[in-house]
C-alpha cells in the first residue's frame, strides 16, 4: 500500500465498517433480547392468567376465564398451547390443538415461571413458560359451602406459544438494520473518498509546481504560504535544497567560465606564435624558437589541467593516497628545481631551512603538488632580488611547514581569499599568467584531504603559507589539530 490515499481510504473505511458491524451486532442483540423478553412476558402473563382461572375437581378441572383478562390473552399473536399436570405426573387437561402430543413438563414458581425454548411436534419453534401453582377446588354446586382454598393440591401448567411471528419480526428488523448499515457504509465511503482527495490535493499542486522547475534554472521556489501546515516543512526543506543546488551550480558555472578564460589566453599565444611564424619563410633558428615558445605555453596549460584534474579528483573523493616515508627536506629541494631557473633570472634567494632528519609518512605525489605550487607562487610574487624560505618542525605528531616570501603587498582581508579558486591578487590580472588562481586552492584541498590545513598570513611585506598535517596518516583530524590552530612557529 504505497499510496497515501489508498492507505487513508482503507484505514478510514475499514475502521468505519468495523464500527458499523459492531454497532449493528449490538443493536441486533438488543432488538432480539427486547422482543424475546416481551414475548416471554406475555407468555408468563398468559400462564398466570390461566393458572388463576383454573379450578380442579377430582380428576376434572375447569378454567374459568374472567372477561377482564380475555383481551390480554387474545392480543397475543401466534398459536397458544397449554397442558396441565397433577403432581403425580398425569395429564389433567391439555389444549385441543395439541391433539395426541404432549408438551414437555417443567415448572417454575408462580412468581418466576420457568421459560425455555422448545420445538413443537409439527417442527415449529416455540417458547414455553412452566409453573407449578396451587389450585382452587371447584365447590360443589352449592354456593354456601366454602371451598377449602389453600389446600395442598398443586398443578403444573406449561403454556407454549409458537415463535414464527417473533422470528419473522426479528428477521425483518435484521434486514432493515443491514440495509441501513449498507447505506451508511456507502455514504461514508463516498464522503471519505471526497474528503481524502480534497485533503491530498495540495500534494498534487506541490508536485505540479515541482514539475515546472527546469534543471537549468533553479531560481524558482515552491510557495508554501497557502499549504496545509503538514506539508509546509517538506516544501521548506525542498526549497532549501533548491537553494543549495542553485548555489552549487552557480559555482560550477563560474568555475567553468573561469577555466575557459584561463585557457583562452594561452591558446591565443599558441595560435599567434604559429600564425606569425608561418606567415613568412624563416631560418631553422626562428622555427626552433617558435616551437620552444609553443612548448612553454603548452607546458603551462598542462600544469593548469593537471591542477584542475587533481582538484576534481579530490572533490569527487576519487583520490587515493599512497603513504610512504618522506624526507621533507629532500622533497622541498626536488620541488624547487622547477622554479630555480626563473628564480635565478629574477635574482631571488632560496633557503631550504627544513631540518635534515625531519620525515613523515605521507603521499609523495600530493606533497609534491603542494610544494611545487607554493614555490611557483612564491617565485611569481616575490619582489626582484627578494627572498623565499621554507621552515618546518614536528610537534605532537603534527608536521608544520611554512613557505614564506618577501615582497607581499596583500592586505589582510585579501589574504583570506588566496585559497579561492581562480582568485588573483590583482582583479584585473585574470588573463595574466596561468599558475595563480588554482595553485593555492589545490594546496588547501590536498591539505584537507590529508587531514591537515593550510593558512596564509601577510605581515610586514612577508607572505607566509603555513601547512599543518599529521606526520602519520589519519583519516580524521587528530585531537591536537583543532587546539593547535593558532600557529606556533617553529623555533
Amino acid at each position: 500500500m504505497r499510496s497515501l490515499r489508498t492507505r487513508l481510504l482503507v484505514g478510514m473505511i475499514g475502521s468505519f465498517a468495523l464500527l458499523l458491524v459492531a454497532f449493528g451486532l449490538v443493536i441486533d442483540a438488543l432488538i432480539e433480547y427486547t422482543l424475546v423478553r416481551e414475548f416471554d412476558f406475555y407468555l408468563e402473563t398468559v400462564a398466570r392468567t390461566l393458572a388463576a382461572a383454573a379450578e380442579a375437581g377430582g380428576d376434572q378441572m375447569e378454567v374459568r376465564l374472567v372477561p377482564e383478562v380475555l383481551p390480554d390473552i387474545q392480543q397475543v399473536e401466534g398459536e397458544l398451547f397449554s397442558q396441565y399436570w397433577n403432581d403425580d405426573g398425569t395429564t389433567l387437561a391439555k389444549s385441543r390443538n395439541l391433539a395426541d402430543h404432549s408438551l414437555p413438563r417443567f415448572s417454575g414458581e408462580v412468581r418466576h415461571p420457568q421459560v425455555q425454548p422448545l420445538v413443537l411436534p409439527d417442527g415449529r419453534g416455540a417458547r414455553a413458560a412452566g409453573m407449578r401453582f396451587p389450585v382452587r377446588h371447584s365447590a360443589p354446586s352449592s354456593e354456601g359451602s366454602r371451598p377449602s382454598s389453600g389446600g395442598d393440591e398443586y398443578l403444573t401448567l406449561v403454556v407454549a406459544r409458537d415463535t414464527t411471528d417473533l422470528e419473522s419480526h426479528v428477521r425483518q428488523l435484521r434486514w432493515l438494520l443491514l440495509a441501513a448499515g449498507a447505506a451508511t457504509m456507502t455514504v461514508g465511503a463516498v464522503v471519505s473518498v471526497v474528503v481524502i482527495r480534497r485533503s491530498l490535493r495540495p500534494l498534487h499542486d506541490v508536485a505540479a509546481d515541482i514539475a515546472t522547475i527546469k534543471e537549468d534554472d533553479l531560481s524558482m521556489r515552491i510557495p508554501s504560504a497557502t499549504l496545509p501546515e503538514e506539508i509546509v516543512p517538506l516544501v521548506q526543506r525542498l526549497n532549501e535544497l533548491l537553494h543549495r543546488l542553485d548555489e552549487a551550480f552557480a559555482r560550477e558555472r563560474s568555475l567553468t567560465a573561469d577555466i575557459a578564460h584561463e585557457l583562452r589566453t594561452p591558446v591565443a599565444g599558441i595560435l599567434s606564435a604559429a600564425g606569425v611564424t608561418l606567415s613568412a619563410d624563416r631560418t631553422p633558428g626562428d622555427y626552433r624558437e617558435a616551437l620552444e615558445d609553443v612548448r612553454k605555453i603548452a607546458r603551462q596549460m598542462r600544469s593548469m589541467i593537471d591542477n584542475l584534474l587533481t582538484l576534481a579528483r579530490l572533490d569527487s573523493q576519487e583520490g587515493q593516497f599512497q603513504f610512504e616515508p618522506i624526507v621533507l627536506r629532500d622533497i622541498v629541494d626536488a620541488c624547487w628545481r622547477g622554479s630555480r631557473e626563473e628564480a635565478i633570472a629574477r635574482g631571488l634567494t632560496f633557503e631550504n631551512e627544513v631540518p635534515d632528519d625531519l620525515s613523515c609518512t605521507s603521499d609523495r605525489h600530493a606533497l609534491s603538488i603542494v610544494f611545487v605550487n607554493l614555490l611557483e607562487n612564491a617565485v611569481q610574487y616575490t619582489n626582484e632580488g627578494g627572498r623565499i624560505w621554507v621552515t618546518a618542525c614536528k610537534t605532537d605528531g603534527v608536521i608544520q611547514v611554512e613557505v614564506a616570501n618577501t615582497g607581499c603587498q596583500l592586505a589582510a582581508q585579501e589574504v583570506a581569499r588566496v585559497f579561492d579558486r581562480f582568485w588573483r591578487a590583482d582583479p584585473s590580472r585574470k588573463d595574466a599568467s596561468l599558475h595563480v588562481g588554482l595553485g593555492l586552492a589545490l594546496v588547501r584541498r590536498i591539505m584537507t584531504a590529508l587531514g591537515g590545513q593550510a593558512t596564509a598570513t601577510s605581515e610586514d611585506g612577508v607572505f607566509r603559507v603555513s601547512l599543518r598535517y599529521p606526520s602519520e596518516p589519519v583519516f580524521s583530524p587528530p585531537d591536537g589539530m583543532a587546539d593547535a590552530r593558532n600557529d606556533a612557529s617553529c623555533g
Binding site: R264, A268, S272, A273, I297
Partner: protein, 225 residues
C-alpha cells in the same frame, strides 16, 4: 604606422609584436596598465591594441581616460571576455573594434590595418598615387606593372607618406610613426631612408615622386608636378 600593444601575457606579447613589426608597424609594447596609459597619452599612436585585464590598471579604464583626454587613436580590444555585455561595454567605452581571444594573428593584422585605413579616412586598401600602386594589405608596391621590392622600413615610410599624400610630412612625424626609427640613434635616419626609397621608386629622367620641402619635411605628390 605607430602602434601600441598592451598585453601582459608574455608569450602572446612576443609573437604579436614580432608579427606586427614584420608587417611594417612601429610597435611599442606594454604589459602594465599604468605604464600603458602613460605611453598612450604621451605619443600619437595610429592604433592601440588593448587587452582588458591588466595589472596596474584595467583596459577599460585606460580607454575611458584616453577618450576623456581627447585622444583619437583607434583602439582594438583583445580579450578573453566574450559575453555580449563585455563587447558592448568595450565598444561603449570608446573602442573601435573588439577581438576575442583566442584569435588568429592574420585576423588581428587585418583588423589593425582596417583601423589604420580609417585613421586616414580611406576605404580602399590600395593607394594609387601617380604611377605608384601601393597594396597596403599585401604590402606590395607596383610602378607601371613592375613590382618594387622594399624593405620593411622602406615600405613603412612609403605607406606613411602615401596615406598623407599631398601634404607636407615633417621629419618628426615620420620619426614618430614609422617602424622603430626611434630605436635608431642616428639623427638623419629619416633622410637616409628617404634616399633609399627614392632610389627604388623613382625612374631615371623623371622627376622624383618624393619632394623635399626646405625646413618643413617631405611631400609625396598626388599628381606629378
Amino acid at each position: 604606422m605607430r602602434l601600441l600593444l598592451v598585453e601582459d601575457y608574455p608569450p602572446l606579447q612576443k609573437s604579436v609584436v614580432k608579427g606586427l613589426r614584420e608587417a611594417g608597424f612601429a610597435v611599442d609594447v606594454m604589459g602594465d596598465g599604468k605604464e600603458a596609459l602613460w605611453y598612450a597619452e604621451s605619443n600619437q599612436y595610429d592604433v592601440i591594441v588593448l587587452d582588458l585585464m591588466l595589472p596596474g590598471l584595467d583596459g577599460l579604464s585606460i580607454l575611458r581616460r584616453l577618450r576623456a583626454g581627447g585622444r583619437e587613436s583607434h583602439v582594438l580590444i583583445i580579450t578573453a571576455k566574450d559575453a555580449v555585455a563585455d563587447r558592448v561595454a568595450g565598444l561603449n567605452a570608446g573602442a573601435d573594434d573588439y577581438l576575442v581571444k583566442p584569435f588568429e594573428f592574420e585576423e588581428l593584422l587585418a583588423r589593425v590595418q582596417a583601423l589604420v585605413r580609417r585613421s586616414y579616412h580611406r576605404k580602399n586598401p590600395i593607394i594609387e598615387i601617380g604611377p605608384l600602386s601601393i597594396d597596403t594589405a599585401a604590402q606590395r608596391v607596383v610602378r607601371a606593372d613592375d613590382e618594387i621590392r622594399l624593405t620593411a622600413r622602406e615600405y613603412a615610410l612609403l605607406e606613411y607618406l602615401a596615406v598623407r599624400a599631398g601634404e607636407v610630412v615633417s621629419r618628426t612625424d615620420i620619426w614618430e610613426h614609422v617602424y622603430d626609427f626611434r630605436s635608431d640613434a642616428t639623427s638623419n635616419v629619416v633622410d637616409v631612408y628617404i634616399g633609399h626609397l627614392r632610389r627604388k621608386i623613382d625612374r631615371e629622367g623623371e622627376p622624383s615622386l618624393i619632394e623635399a620641402v626646405r625646413g618643413r619635411g617631405y611631400i609625396l605628390r598626388k599628381e606629378p608636378a
